[in-house]
Subunit: 532 residues, 2 copies
């Protein structure tokens, strides 16, 4: 219907009323708000992690492919949402869900989530996000200072300068890593001797111009798969990510890195970037950043650090020394939705050099003009929501000391759990934790003597692996507690076979020592049942 | 502090209490909820678009670069937020803000924004998003069916099949376009004759293998700058985006497209994809999709359509014929935060072939296993929030007829405004609208006769351009009403100089005919003042 006359057209009236911020609209909205608060509250108070429903069975409940013709009233939709979707969601905030990098959030982010949706600003340009533009820049400057600690004059100059970019917010760590490598590639293969640069002429032409067959990114064998994805997207190919072996703590072996660099030189391969990790996804291992930074500097190569997980350690005076060398990185990825305790969807890349992002700048005559302060001109994404609201708020409400407490608590509890694991004969600690992630496994009774005597064989490890896969799946299916699993090639047992590890992450401030005990107890019981 | 004893450590107690879903937590949260509702409500009811504060002056209020040490109480932070940030935000929902693609949203998305943050699911894998995984697939299948209208058997097979991908949700249209071209590139340069494919070996090796110097994407001169960004990121270079001239309606000229394709063949340049537009950002123009699809088919080239703006026209029986040929596209970008009336941060690429996304699939031993139903394995992004909540809800609450009403209303009001512009001598309509975007300009009195007589010169146009820039900036600064501006090279006046156009977008269901009149009246008064 395309009439404007609501009186004769009930559909028009009802659709339009959904958009009105009128008295009636407010009344409906308040009642929905209250309902939603109840739904969230019940969800967050659940003592289990998830329902037992089998995933494939759950899928059978979502098989409608036709958009319904008629509108449906909000109430009945919310009932469906609550019963069929929320109920079967994962309580990532549960104190006994210690298997992934998602944890409880501070309560104020939930009302802020509503504000974010209410304001509906678009950070791509100031015409759609006036105050949020300088506000986001302020939050990113705070992150820059926490990492790089430049002086007051530096920040006074750059914090709101249109030509400067201290950091770029992204939807997550994957895009942050990709953005950093995009900048590195475009800088290393920039305009020269009449060549207009990879940005304009493309990668094949850039390599021909340098008379070089191949360009690569070099980093740890344990680099997150987002870096592999970035290598593919950026045209280097996944083989263009050269992975350096790590030691039994999961840290890059510097001598191996030197060997890889020397090999690249011999082969005439151009190294576009060296990538270090501050907190591997598997184990929380921290690469030897000062040594890597020195090599990158010597070779004149961009040094990027994926600190998606570990970056916030810089906020703890007690532990920031573990990230020594991070301030030597040209770019650093940090995830807000990990150890900054913000909702999903907030990543950032922080840039040491305020003009580095010029290498990726794009304008659009019609909208992002060259001289504008629009944030969209130096970013992988275009339109995006004002997620800086969460970051800015949390930096203030928690403060540096609040974050320090959270980081230190996580490490304290990790040490507690590691001690428990070493005293319980049913478990074997596989890697000494460097942060707040633990890799361990359940050892079936028949293998315990061989573990103690260090006489375990590859076949034994294969059997123990299979057992731990079953254990983790049974635990996940039961839904009472949760720990994830991974596959490690760098433990003292070597890579043949890779060792299946249970993976616990100590980040939820609500997780107590009793919770840790309960999770292990749950695994113990499942393990014993499986053995029987 | 790393003690667990809250009694002796007030910081520990206060930080931990922020995370608790306890009785106290709930009480604080409810009070904050109420406050936030007030803030949003006041913001949305404002009759102006923005405050008059100068942007550079506003920036001077955001110059702190140090994270405060001590926590700050939530209440006082929210006061700062409300007074200094919300107040100076842009009321994109205002009925008289008709200049960008952001409009009023249905009220239920605001409580849903809170739910999204409360659930904090991570769609990268089912261990962090159980029900939301099939739920998102269901919403994407509905979009697929709206576009491609395959039969029941097709959807029964693919809707929840792990190997199939009917669409990929992204943070926005930019990433959706990039994902489509990534798939196109990896498919066109896939494994062959011992070559392992661009995905593994990279772009330079892929082109050497094909004995080809250059690979390009071909599309309209009016393609959104995100496609240029994608060409850079994907290693083609911005020169690897070949732009085809458009007619005076802003539509690709098919003969010119044929000429470009023939030239590429002559030069031995490989065409990776042909990109059409369904609703240009400037003018809402729709490319000749059936002709473009036929050419792409003949040449064996991926056909992508950027329907970020126009895609939802398929939901209107009255207007869907304008998008004829869209169902011939291999991939289609649609933005949720545009004409699906969802909050910022929701894009999607819909894929005709359910296995097309295999070309970008990545696994990670430790987390995204090959046989898993995890959505993260075929996506540009990694961790991401459950934005499908908004899409699924709106498809049901508005229904197809609700969306049809919104689309039809926008076109009706556009026609109304176009008629007004043609009768008011102060304005000149520059492009006949094909959808709900209008390009026009204010004509200072001294030029009106020349406009009528069609004797306007380039110098005249330059002067009229400068006048319209001043007019739009004055209007934006005053903050009462808002229309954006753009620069057009395809009007009857040609490209020298490009014509500065005022750009109005008729998408807000709250915008009435009186609002349209008020916006034009505002411009009229500003124009007359500037002339005086």
């Amino acid at each position: 219907m395309s009439t404007a006359d609501d009186k004769t057209d009930p559909l028009a009236a009802s659709v339009r009323s959904l958009f009105e911020a009128s008295a009636d609209g407010t009344r409906f909205e308040s009642s929905l708000d209250a309902k939603m608060s109840d739904v969230v509250d019940r969800f967050l108070r659940a003592t289990t992690v998830s329902t037992e429903i089998d995933f494939d069975a759950l899928c059978q409940q979502f098989t409608s492919s036709t958009i319904p013709i008629a509108p449906r009233d909000v109430e009945s939709y919310i009932e469906h949402l609550s019963a069929d979707v929320v109920r079967h969601s994962i309580n990532t905030a549960s104190p006994q869900y210690i298997g992934h990098m998602t944890s409880a959030l501070p309560y104020f982010v939930r009302p802020l989530g509503r504000l974010l949706t209410g304001l509906n600003q678009n950070l791509v340009k100031i015409e759609t996000a006036k105050a949020l533009t300088p506000y986001e820049r302020e939050a990113l400057a705070m992150m820059h200072r926490a990492l790089y600690a430049r002086d007051d004059a530096f920040y006074e100059t750059h914090i709101q300068k249109r030509e400067s970019t201290l950091g770029i917010m992204t939807s997550g760590g994957t895009l942050a890593n990709m953005t950093a490598l995009w900048i590195a590639r475009n800088t290393a293969l920039g305009p020269r001797d009449g060549f207009e640069g990879v940005e304009r002429e493309g990668l094949a032409a850039a390599l021909r111009h340098r008379d070089c067959k191949r360009a690569v990114v070099v980093g740890s064998a344990l680099l997150h798969y987002s870096v592999e994805k970035a290598a593919d997207v950026l045209g280097l190919g996944t083989q263009g990510l050269v992975r350096v072996p790590v030691d039994t703590s999961g840290r890059v072996i510097v001598a191996e890195l030197e060997r890889v660099i020397a090999e690249c030189k011999r082969a005439g391969t151009m190294v576009l970037a060296l990538v270090g990790i501050a907190g591997t996804t598997d184990s929380g291992a921290i690469d030897p950043l000062p040594e890597m930074a020195a090599i990158a500097k010597r070779e004149g190569v961009h040094f990027h650090v994926d600190a998606a997980w570990g970056g916030p350690l810089v906020l703890s005076d007690r532990y920031k020394h573990r990230l020594a060398g991070l301030d030597l990185a040209d770019s650093v990825t940090i995830d807000g939705h990990k150890q900054l305790y913000l909702p999903m969807g907030i990543g950032m890349v922080v840039l040491r050099d305020p003009i580095a992002a010029a290498a990726i700048e794009k304008q659009a005559q019609y909208i992002i003009r060259a001289d504008s302060p629009d944030l969209g001109k130096r970013a992988l994404e275009g339109s995006r929501p004002g997620m800086a609201l969460f970051l800015h708020a949390a930096l203030h409400v928690l403060g540096r000391s609040g974050y320090a407490f959270l980081i230190e608590e996580g490490i304290r509890k990790t040490e507690h759990m590691a001690n428990l694991l070493e005293t319980w004969p049913d478990f074997e600690l596989l890697v000494q934790p460097q942060m707040n992630i633990l890799n361990y496994r359940y050892v079936p009774t028949s293998f315990r003597d061989a573990i103690a005597a260090r006489t375990i064989t590859s076949d034994d490890n294969a059997a123990i692996n299979a057992f731990n896969v079953r254990l983790q799946e049974a635990q996940r299916h039961a839904g009472q507690t949760f720990v994830s699993r991974t596959s490690l090639r760098f433990t003292r047992y070597g890579a043949d076979p890779p060792i299946t590890a249970l993976r616990a992450i100590m980040a939820n401030p609500l997780t107590t020592e009793a919770d840790i005990h309960a999770v292990l107890q749950d695994q113990l019981e499942i393990g014993r049942k499986l053995e029987a």
